[in-house]
Symmetry: D2
Subunit: 260 residues, 4 copies
Amino acid sequence: MQLKIEVDLDYHFVEETDVLLAIEVAQLADQLLGEDLLSVAGSGPLRPIGAEDGIGRRTWMRAQGPCRISYRASLVVDRPAVAIAGLPASNLPDLPAVVVPYLWPSRYCEGDRFEAFVEKTFGSLQGGAKIEAMADWIRHEMDYVIGSSDASTTAVDAFLSRRGVCRDFAHLMATFSRAAGIPARLVSAYAWGLKPPDFHAVVEVWLDGGWHLVDPTGLAPIEGLARICVGRDATDIAFMTIFGVGTMRAQSVQVARLDG
Amino acid sequence: MQLKIEVDLDYHFVEETDVLLAIEVAQLADQLLGEDLLSVAGSGPLRPIGAEDGIGRRTWMRAQGPCRISYRASLVVDRPAVAIAGLPASNLPDLPAVVVPYLWPSRYCEGDRFEAFVEKTFGSLQGGAKIEAMADWIRHEMDYVIGSSDASTTAVDAFLSRRGVCRDFAHLMATFSRAAGIPARLVSAYAWGLKPPDFHAVVEVWLDGGWHLVDPTGLAPIEGLARICVGRDATDIAFMTIFGVGTMRAQSVQVARLDG
Amino acid sequence: MQLKIEVDLDYHFVEETDVLLAIEVAQLADQLLGEDLLSVAGSGPLRPIGAEDGIGRRTWMRAQGPCRISYRASLVVDRPAVAIAGLPASNLPDLPAVVVPYLWPSRYCEGDRFEAFVEKTFGSLQGGAKIEAMADWIRHEMDYVIGSSDASTTAVDAFLSRRGVCRDFAHLMATFSRAAGIPARLVSAYAWGLKPPDFHAVVEVWLDGGWHLVDPTGLAPIEGLARICVGRDATDIAFMTIFGVGTMRAQSVQVARLDG
Amino acid sequence: MQLKIEVDLDYHFVEETDVLLAIEVAQLADQLLGEDLLSVAGSGPLRPIGAEDGIGRRTWMRAQGPCRISYRASLVVDRPAVAIAGLPASNLPDLPAVVVPYLWPSRYCEGDRFEAFVEKTFGSLQGGAKIEAMADWIRHEMDYVIGSSDASTTAVDAFLSRRGVCRDFAHLMATFSRAAGIPARLVSAYAWGLKPPDFHAVVEVWLDGGWHLVDPTGLAPIEGLARICVGRDATDIAFMTIFGVGTMRAQSVQVARLDG
């Protein structure tokens, strides 16, 4: 699938403010980046850094006053559909060192508090079949309600309120998976077919020796996801982290398909 | 300082259980490992892995029944005393990619909830002086009470109860630091002079372009710490993570000084 | 049912300590108290007070050193079995003023956080049928595990851990009921047939213009409950509230049936 | 002080909705109610009930569509200024049964979690002097920020965020007081001199055998408070509890002084 991505963010910062951007598409085997360009009007020089885990790029900027951020990218996503349900879980001792931390609970994914629920609800299933049952549970039991959560909402909060957005659905998915001893991480992505278009959050689970994408919202096809970066939860993958106060004035994300 | 470390752990696992050990001293510039040996009676073959961040070693084992773990190491710690108070904070855009995640809140360090307290209490100070004031606050306001917390205790819990052990003191230190925009990570260590001898948890903060050790408990000298591994909070650096049920029957940690 | 109750509590208080006891059987229409006697060796004069709500008796004592509390009572419980499932909920405007507070969330019953779960899970049912479905859910989804909770465990905690004792089962029952707009209160009681014998916690729900007993644990028959007092949650009905530090040395609760 | 109160609430309910109002001034010894009138356009018949504790009045209504609630009252407040700092705490065994529950933690006042903080911070003071120090602490450490909290904010939340409105200040005051073993309850009131005029929340603490008003916000004089009702926390004293969905379209509270 050939995708064209256009992002325009219009912000305002009263004081000089450090901002960490994570909006650039990652160069990965299943998503071949053509060319892309991040440009910012209203900040000092951009300072690109990699990601902790080697996946994705982040860029520091220091801005004051009006600030317009523009990102353009074209890429080809060539991601074969995988039947998750048939994949076995990996043995724990086979997990690479960089995968191990995705077993742990994190700020917004309190996996340690869900072990009994997960065992009772999904304990009879194994590997990918268990993951699929978790995604089904989330789609069935949770209501997707825009505005129903905020930056402080954790998996426990969402589990109780039975409401959330993609961030919360992904947190629950990762939380359930970790509580079952299956590594899981959050993934930020551009999503072809997502309505309304926006930054999207999905999950990767570690099955059969590799990471596999799961979208517990079911709102966009896996084949049309262009990953930006990965992390333990929403904090790691936020598209913009403002170290101070900023005001959003306009924001537009467009993902167009050029082929098909 | 020349140290000799002797660890003996005596556990019992009813069922076959995967266990992740993190008890081996890390090879680092300021702690020169002589020789060391990890041996386990009662498990299958050990499977050493590195750490996600390249610091420290972890080892998987699969055990059933009685299990005796033994670790012996000798090393020279050559760590100059640093006057933390005089070190400046780094500019955020100068943070390397691998340091950035230590700004974020984690499962047991809810830095996002302490920003107002930290600003009100330490806001007039900068860099290392701010860090020292935080460590002083912790030593003064918190009671070190063995048995007063458990594996689920977070920084919020400890802040309210005003009680804890090294794990909780370190969580508070890292939480305050992150809430002030200074990266901080948990460090597990062997500590010469710690009474009673045990695994210890301390903190590293990122100041002036590098990591610097801080022990908010003040129970052992920085110069005698032999670091094992680092992470976002206690989960990352646990000396033993049991994926199932295990019973501790005896546990001994000895840190002897061979010189001086 | 004719019951004989014998309670012996053996405590020790290092310093002079105020203690509030709530262990005396309430005089109520469906439980006719014969004679009873509370006696304490090792305290100053007892100071009986009523209960806030007019149900039950509480007694202040001030003790230091060894303290033996003895309570003996005989009573006849004449409580007809009620088919809860057939009872309608009351209209809200018909609730008496003293019943209204049992709609609100309390310290250990966060009813406000369970509204979505309760609506999704029990929303198709009404009145007593809804209450019975809630009790069934609790009996089916929760494990009764002695020692799995403590005095700080809330309904949210128990809901996540899927474990608890009578206190937690009762908290969940009251929480679900309040989240559905049906008043519910905690009840402490002596329970004939409870094994092992102990103080018991159950629930009363307001249906069809009156309070009706429900025991979500199913561990003892409603017909053999001798109520002590009622309240919003476990704090209100604790059999002993110690304003300081006390050590339990022995504790015995016996409920014998004299007829039948 | 002679006060005239005018309240106008303009709401809309899409569906038929039960609403509990608590906006009528209580008839109490230190506030002599002249005449008052509650009238509602857009509901069925009003159903007045008392309060659980005998203080204050509540009124049920059932409304659908536009609903205008009007309340007019005139009263004389004759409340001598009391020097709180000089009042002794009461002995626990002297507390009346109806006062005892105000020692317990409640949904939004987790007194049980603040015992260590309160002991460390105020432990050297007694009775009214302790209460005054708590109120001073709150005025000094908390920022009064309209919009900074919502209906789910607890004392723990406010303590961490160091921000809140009158509800949060009152919750903290009651929480600290209970943690010190001094009964405290929330009080809703009309407050002469409050800017902007609104429903106000303050606290009563039990000292020297009686209830005494404390306003931790310091925003309005005690002498000009017209109490509405009392309770364990904000839930008990909400001026309007909507059992369903309602939209506020306009709301006006006016408190005028007729003498002086």
